[in-house]
Structures are given as structure tokens and as C-alpha cells.
Amino acid sequence: MIEIHGLTKVYETGEVPVHALRGVDLRVAKGEFVAVVGPSGSGKSTLFHILGGLTPPTSGGVFINGRDLLRMSDLERTELRKTHVGFVFQKYNLLPTLTAEENIEIARDIAGRSSQPLDKDFQEILQHLHITGRMHHKPRALSGGEQQRVAIARAIVNRPALLLADEPTGNLDTENSEAVLTILRDLNARLNQTILMITHNPEAAAYAHRTVRMRDGRIVDESLPGASPHDTNRPKIGG
């Protein structure tokens, strides 16, 4: 699913080049839920941006479903975001002028799928996300937890190969954090959705099948939790 070999990223913004990634090797199987943890400046956000096609790698091999991101043009990376990747951000990033339903619809429109009806599975997921009664509200009328659940629905509406979540619980209280992480874990189980989640929080990371630890632009540690990937008896956030 995802194969990364010797990935580097150098930002040439100032006079001194910044080596954000210094040779990352990672393999994520289809249907895997991987947490990436590490301190600020460890390179996890850069990894997120590269895998999401938001910025090109400098060198190395990055493959998503066999597609080489290193050789992609800007337009090809745009196409990748449209069809292969879904994002969930810490700040939800819903369009404030649109309702929850329209925020989901705009993702379908961009992907050129707006003329197709929503499939039954997705409608079930909306039920599962407990947002069906809030679909006609704009983000300012939704709680943080509701906004994040809408953002998750938007991220998966086009059935992306990879769901990238950047600190998805960073702005949420304990209760909503648990709800969102449970949803991510359930989506992973229900849809066999590959998820790569960036987090500072080791308790949030414990919801993943596997945790990858980054430092100074490299992966320094990988750990597998004791529980099986789809085990629902995960530790509680803040508990």
C-alpha cells in the first residue's frame, strides 16, 4: 500500500537548507492503522504533507498503491489528493460558508462524483458518525466533535486509499477525542481503511495497530501494541 525508501525532504526557504526528513523508510500495509508520534520538528508533519501530495519529496522512493510520488507533477499530486487521499486536520478545516452536507458534497464535486448518488455504505457511516441530524448546519453551529466527525465523513466520501489524520484529537476534549478515535478505528475495521495518524498523544496512538516514532527527520522506533489490530479494548484517552 505505502512504501517509503530513503525519503528525504529539504526546504530551501532561507539561506540555510532545512533537512526535514533525513532518510525515512516505512511500509504500511493495506488496511493498517498506523500512528506516527514524535516531538515537534521530528518531521512527522512533513511526512504527512508528502504522503498527502501537498509537497513533493526531495529524494527517495514514496509509493502509494504503486504510484511514485517522487516523479509526480503538481497536477498529478492534485489528482492524487482528489482520488487517493483523504485528510482529517486538527482544526477540522471545514469550509465555513457551507453546511456539513455541502462540505461533504464539495469533496465529491472536486472529485467529479457529485452526479453519483451517495452509496448505501456511506449513508450507514453517516449514521454511525451521529451527524445525520446536523447535516444542514454550518460549522459555526456545530461542536468541535461534530465538526471533526463531518471532516472524517468528508475525508472518506470518495473512498480514498489512504486516510491521513493530523492530530485529529488535538482540539477536542477527552470525550470527543475518544469518540473520534473510536470512529477512526471502526472505519479502519469496517472499510479496511488504511489510516496514518499523526499525534503527540501516546494514548491516541494506542488506538492504532502500530506506532512509528520519529525524531530529527528519521524513524527511530516502531512498536506494536499488545492488542490485535481490530481489538476494541483499547486504552481510554485521558483515562
Binding site: 492534485t78 489528493r81 482528489k82 478545516n93 460558508t97 472536486i110 472529485a111
Partner: protein, 366 residues
């Protein structure tokens, strides 16, 4: 869905959208008012020329058609000569005396004038009784709030007495008797034009040719030729002025949309980043901005058309009576096109800026 986003974006900042639409609307109103004024004024001039009932007009050599410059000497003899021509039913000389502000008094022979077009419809008063009697049309009377029996100083040193208020649409707005007017202005036996009516419309071309042979270098026009010449296209000053207004409107529309879209792009940096993260191409982002500009231009044009009716109503009380504004629906699509061109040009730079925005930087924008 994109249209929903565009509409919601405009609704999101209602004051900004309203102000932008009003600014675009003002330039549309400006265009439609200028064109409406020139079309209305020239249309009324045509109507008044048609109202004379003449088929042919004779003007002095080298004279202009729109402005009655230059007089012909020996008016009586000239009219008599024209009357003798075959198929000529009536011929009457008219002295047009300018009194400033694009206004003029027409000296007429009331009996001949009546024979040619049935005469005036009197709203107040009746025919001339005294040499200083002046007949005015209803538009002039309304604007100057005048009635029969009141004196009128037209700033030409003569004390006129209003003897009648007549229905508009015949030759002029102010009428005096021909001979007293000639004497007042030391233009004894001079006429500015001779209006000719023939016995049968089929004879108009033949009579015109005949008169041209007779009067050689005089300007001789059929009424249709005269009407065709009373047009904005034949007055370079008006045409040029209209073009200048269109040019200014285009620039104003461009600047209004440029400013609106530029501030919108700055304000919506994060939203643009979100669209890009969702896979929106530069073309999609540019498309959103261009659609917003188009919608603004359409709303502004509709507002401008509505405001034109307001300005028309207001100008009705302000404009001198010889200026008439009419609605010009045939110019609505042109005004829309001008707004669209200005709007789209104004949206290109902010649109390209938005389309080129780095998604990561945009997403981190607060």
C-alpha cells in the same frame, strides 16, 4: 456544488458584496443614462422633425443638419419658387433662432404650418395674437412651470408673452411668428429651412431631384434622410463621450472586482488551502473566483438597470426640457458585457494568486 460555494461566499460578506454590486451598478447606470439621454434626445428630435408633416427639407449650402446653422436670404422668394414646382403641395419657411443652452425659437407661418401637419393641439391658450407672442410645448411649460399669459424672459432682450401651451412633437419647443422673429433678430426675410410637402409620397424622389437642380448647392434632404442623419452616430462628440464613459466604467468595474476579489482571496486563504487539500486543481480554484466575479457583475448590472429607472425619475425634474432620457433595454446586454469584461479582468490576478497559493502555507494561515 461550485455555484453553491460561490453564492455562499458572496453571502458570507453581505456588506462587501452589496457595496461591490452598487459600485458596478453605478457604472452600469452611468452608461445606460448617457445612452438613454442621447437616444431619448435624438429620438425626440426625430419625432419633432417627423411632426412637421414635411416630406423634404431645404437647408442652406454647407449647413449642418443637427444644428440649424446658417440662414438663407430671400426666404419669401425662395418659398414661392419652391411652391411653383410640380407636385409641391405646400412649402413653408422657418427661421430657427438659437437662444443658448441648446435651445432655440422657431419662427413659423402658422397657417402654412397648420396646412402641412394639422396644426397644434392647444393645451392652454390659442394662436398668436401679438408680435411678441410665444407658444411653448408642454415639456417646456412643465420644466419652467409656465402658463398662458405669463411673461417670459429668454435672456435675449425680448419680453415674450406666452399665448399657448401646445402638445409636444412638432418641429420645436418654442414658436414665434416668422416675420416678427425675423425682425427681432435682424434677419428680415431670412429662413433657416424650407419644409416641403408633396402631393403624393411616390413623388418625393422626383421632387427632391427637381429641387436639387433648381437650387444647386443647397442641402436638400428627404424627411427619411433627415431622420437617418439625426443619430448619435452622426454626432462624434456624443459618440466620443459615450465611449469615454464606457471606458471609465470598464476601468471602475475592473478595479472594484479586483479589490473585492483580492481582499476575498486574502481573507479566504485557509479555505483555498482546504479546497486544494481536497484535490481542487488551480483551474477549479480560479473557476470559483471567476464565477464570483461573474455573479457580482450580473448582480451589479441588474442593480444598475434598476438604478437607471431611479435616475431617470430624478433627472425628469432636473434635465432641461430639450433633453429626454428613455430606457434603452437593447443596451442592457452591452452593459452586462462591459461589467463582465471588467469583472473577469479584475478577478484574474486575485484568481491566479489563489490558484498558485501553496496548500500547506494556506492551511496554516490563521
Amino acid at each position: 456544488m461550485i455555484y453553491r460555494l460561490v453564492w455562499e461566499n458572496l453571502k458570507h460578506r453581505p456588506v462587501r458584496t452589496l457595496l461591490s454590486a452598487i459600485f458596478i451598478g453605478v457604472q452600469v447606470t452611468l452608461i445606460l443614462t448617457i445612452v438613454g439621454l442621447s437616444d431619448g434626445t435624438f429620438g425626440e428630435m426625430q419625432e419633432r422633425s417627423r411632426g412637421t408633416g414635411a416630406d423634404i427639407v431645404i437647408r442652406p449650402p454647407n449647413s449642418t443638419v443637427i444644428q440649424f446653422t446658417g440662414n438663407m436670404m430671400h426666404g419669401k422668394e425662395l418659398v414661392a419658387k419652391v411652391r411653383q414646382q410640380p407636385h409641391v403641395k405646400i412649402a413653408t419657411g422657418v427661421l430657427v433662432q438659437g437662444i443658448g443652452n441648446f435651445q432655440s425659437i422657431s419662427g413659423i407661418d402658422l397657417a402654412d404650418f397648420k396646412a402641412m401637419n394639422g396644426g397644434f393641439t392647444y393645451i392652454e391658450g390659442g394662436p398668436f395674437q401679438h408680435p411678441n407672442d410665444l407658444m411653448i410645448d408642454a415639456n417646456f411649460a412643465r420644466f419652467r412651470k409656465l402658463h398662458v399669459g405669463e411673461p417670459l424672459d429668454l435672456g435675449n432682450g425680448f419680453n415674450w408673452n406666452i399665448c399657448a401651451v401646445v402638445e409636444p412633437g412638432k418641429l420645436s419647443q418654442l414658436f414665434a411668428q416668422l416675420q416678427p422673429l425675423q425682425e427681432m433678430y435682424s434677419a428680415t426675410n431670412q429662413v433657416s429651412a424650407v419644409y416641403v410637402q408633396v402631393d403624393d409620397p411616390a413623388n418625393i424622389p422626383a421632387v427632391k431631384d427637381q429641387l436639387q437642380k433648381l437650387l444647386d448647392d443647397y442641402v436638400i434632404l428627404t424627411m427619411q434622410q433627415l431622420l437617418d442623419m439625426i443619430s448619435v452616430d452622426n454626432v462624434p462628440l456624443v459618440k466620443g463621450f459615450t465611449n469615454v464613459v464606457i471606458g471609465i466604467s470598464l476601468v471602475v468595474g475592473f478595479l472594484v472586482v479586483l479589490l473585492t476579489m483580492y481582499t476575498a482571496v486574502l481573507e479566504r486563504t485557509r479555505e483555498i488551502g482546504i479546497l486544494k487539500a481536497l484535490g481542487a486543481s488551480p483551474g477549479y480554484v480560479l473557476g470559483v473566483l471567476l464565477r464570483e466575479a461573474v455573479l457580482l457583475a450580473v448582480i451589479g448590472t441588474v442593480a444598475g438597470i434598476a438604478m437607471t429607472y431611479g435616475s431617470k425619475w430624478l433627472l425628469h425634474f432636473v434635465l432641461p426640457p430639450m433633453l429626454t432620457e428613455i430606457a434603452v433595454p437593447r443596451w442592457w446586454p452591452i452593459a452586462l458585457a462591459i461589467s463582465l469584461v471588467g469583472g473577469v479582468l479584475g478577478a484574474i490576478y486575485p484568481g491566479v494568486k489563489a490558484a498558485r497559493q501553496d496548500a500547506i502555507e494556506a492551511l496554516s494561515y490563521d
